[in-house]
Symmetry: D2
Subunit: 156 residues, 4 copies
């Protein structure tokens, strides 16, 4: 019996831009959602495909339906941050991503978040994810079973 090793999460770095700060001296809260997007795109790349081709070649857009963020510690100008992104759940037409933003120097968690997406065509009509991409996103069932394995490594 073989297992495709799961990618627990992808990691990518961003450095906080001056443009992303506000007059409170910290990063404006809305900008975290841009970092989540950076994380999603890099997760796709690390899974093995480019999100832009999913749009261009397969008329499949990952349209956001829900987004949330909990802010733990401020991020400041010039901080180097690590964005950890993982797929929390996949169903036929939806994907749920989870995010953790970490200060790369201190290792402290800055924020955690989640987004839910619906696969749509160019006109915004929901559609099923094309088969060629389905392999990258384990179905709800396999995600769950894999999650169990992940939490009970001594049993494998």
């Amino acid at each position: 019996m073989t297992h495709t090793p799961a990618i627990p999460y992808s990691e990518t770095n961003v450095r906080v831009r001056y443009a992303e700060t506000d007059q409170m001296g910290v990063v404006y809260y809305g900008n975290y959602f841009t970092w989540f997007e950076v994380g999603r795109v890099e997760l796709c790349r690390q899974l093995g495909f480019e999100y832009k081709k999913m749009e261009l070649e397969d008329d499949s857009y990952i349209v956001v339906a829900e987004a949330s963020c909990r802010y733990k510690r401020p991020a400041r100008f010039d901080d180097l941050l690590t964005i950890r992104t993982h797929v929390k759940e996949t169903q036929r037409r939806t994907i749920r991503f989870g995010y953790e933003i970490v200060n790369s120097a201190s290792g402290e968690t800055i924020a955690i978040g989640e987004t839910v997406h619906v696969i749509c065509d160019r006109l915004g009509r929901p559609k099923s994810m094309p088969d060629k991409y389905r392999k990258y996103f384990p179905s709800a069932e396999s995600t769950h079973s894999r999650g169990e394995k992940h939490h009970s490594p001594q049993k494998s």
Copy 2:
């Protein structure tokens, strides 16, 4: 016995900027949180004070702790939108705001959201809301009781 009539919500308008769209032809999802901020600031103004003075004169910052949004319909370039903002709950050190973004022309709900904030000083340390602002934000108890009244107007 007199009641200060509650402001159910404040309303303010924004027109969608080209800068706020993305290549999907709709507003980028992170920009809704900027509109929530616009709604909060206008709610403060309509309640009777300027948020900027709360920062400048009273060293009190409304720091965001949580933010979420559910996207119902796309917003497009040049759409005129109405932002409805209300206080959902107030406690000694936290405020919860609720938002509804409506297409002003069609009346359709574009998005609904929520943010939770902690009152902090300039250095980011939590503090109680200054008394002079407390009157604008009914306490948790009065919010609840007022909420009951609101839902049971026949009892007042």
Copy 3:
């Protein structure tokens, strides 16, 4: 001989958003270009057409080729600003807009800027401005002669 009276400039207002400030406590310099865009779109509306229809119905995009801004005074959170926009020059395939950002309360000039645009189709290929829009943008010659009149009002 009749003259269509020139619109010297259009005016529209924006209030500075918290999102637009940076940790210097003033508006981030890149955001002025978004305000210029707001000014352009409102100038079109005041001239008599909607820019979005120019894209949607006539496959004509006003693509930016050059942009510049001189910053005179800082703009701060919650400031009410007036954006004055005018057409500086029109040629067959290009338009030059001029902008002045003014603090609505003090009347002081915050910034002045300029953008040059090329009319393109959806694929980015330069094209002539459709006739239906040409009437809104006086040609280079008439702009110049009108400019002369403007600077020599004693002669009219």
Copy 4:
């Protein structure tokens, strides 16, 4: 006679974010100025100091006075870009930076730009650049002489 070897320009990379595109399918023109800022900050780092410390420890802010950009080719989502930044001129209280944005894959120039900055204290009052930073920014004279050398390499 000794020469401090000039850094012709610093280089840093950015990948185009979805958030940075607009409904034309290309990067919104105002976002190039954020990339210029990224270039400036990395130039400082490569010269040997952190811009954030210049603000925090030496009360010296590089406040923008002028900014301009010429757009040559569109940048698109997920493009990898190289930002080349150099100091064009330094005077007692002002610095002029030059930028070139290049598509890293094709080598094509996407945009070129320039910003002029005034050294100010925290309150926005112009001041001379602190001595400790002056060494990183050759004075106007040496910039010019170096420029001559650069343009007449056959003479060196």
